[in-house]
Subunit: 264 residues, 2 copies
Amino acid sequence: MTTTAGYAYDTDTASTRVGEHEYALELSRRWYTPANTANGGYLLATALQALRQEIPHPDLIAASAHFLRPGTAGPARITTETVRIGRRTATGQAALFREGREILRVLATFSDLAAAEGPTAIIGAPPVLPPPQECVNPIVDPMPGIAERVEFRMPRLPGFLRGEPGGTAVVEFWMRFADGRDADPIALALLVDAAMPAVFDLGTVPASSTIELTAHIRRRPAPGWLACRVGTRFLIDGFHEEDFEMWDSTGAPVAQSRQLSLIP
Amino acid sequence: MTTTAGYAYDTDTASTRVGEHEYALELSRRWYTPANTANGGYLLATALQALRQEIPHPDLIAASAHFLRPGTAGPARITTETVRIGRRTATGQAALFREGREILRVLATFSDLAAAEGPTAIIGAPPVLPPPQECVNPIVDPMPGIAERVEFRMPRLPGFLRGEPGGTAVVEFWMRFADGRDADPIALALLVDAAMPAVFDLGTVPASSTIELTAHIRRRPAPGWLACRVGTRFLIDGFHEEDFEMWDSTGAPVAQSRQLSLIP
């Protein structure tokens, strides 16, 4: 069994059981975004890490989070509920509170992905990327926060980082935790929210807040870099989706997510 | 103001307030699928119709439903909770119970789509379809149930309906309520679950049960036929997504949804 002690992801998403279906934790500044609030995927992962302790099935397969208020560093509480425990799947709910106010609520369904049996047909293809060592690191001087926790490799900088928004709003890249922590299903639910929004390539102001994020985890990821594609096709009156697809280092599809976000 | 009295959708999704945050209704057999259980989108719409009564914002913009058990016709209860009422958005939760057992839980966020202000850029294009009257009705002899409630027009029958699954798993078509009821945001959350799953085009058994469905409503739809595209790109060990995009009769994008489903 691999130890995960010492990795920022594990340290910063861990909580302590303080009552029936209640957990306490300290939200960390280490996952702050340039907006000076905690990354939404990080908040989501804290709630899912608490909830998983009450679910017998090992793998997150679907998490639907509605973001209620910005999250800041400091003491926080998570409440959980097991909604239904079935043979094949189990569903629970978690809510994250900061200073007594709910900042996130999530419904999540778990299963055992290693025990899944059924037909397989894969039509979607992973992005065609040069090996990570031949790619560009788009973040040369990371600001304190999530930019130090997650690293990226890109064939070239996307248009909006070169000052030339491309209007295609699709970005393909490699991603991993910077400290070498390999991803698992709940970590994927963080990582699908860790990249810069593709909508920035449409020339918007570089800020967007998540209203709802759903992640579907389709396989346990193999260790190593994750190949990612993020895209926006509909920006309407400031509302836009961010569609995220992720493959592991063996080329297997591992996650899909979509979030509905709002440009301020 | 348009009256919606008498339409099957309105009659069958209506509930009666029986207590604080509690509603009673009769689930109708009129939305049964060939599996002889209620369509999931119909169940979702009943929960959202109850919840909307407690939310000041007029338009559903994001609904995330986790399906817990099959729904059958008969007396049912809905419990609701207002999670956060904000200036621009409001979030609530609803749970649907049948015979004392929870069959569906949903988180939903509402806003005022007519008041939304912000940039617009539309990259995704609607399906190129002949006018509905030049298309094929794929359901010539509908079975009792949802096949009588929702009608479709297709340029040609999809491969799996001709006995020749195509392996492309993308289907494009027109859709509307058969009795002429125009769609609104909550009705769209039903309709995105009303079509035959695109995964059938991969040659699977013609059955699939929804685990999670998220619908994002991006505009209030204009009256008339809705142009739709549904697709599956990843069928893995029986789990598959159904991605749904919908445009209204003016060509405006109105909804996106994705569900995670399981082939039995």
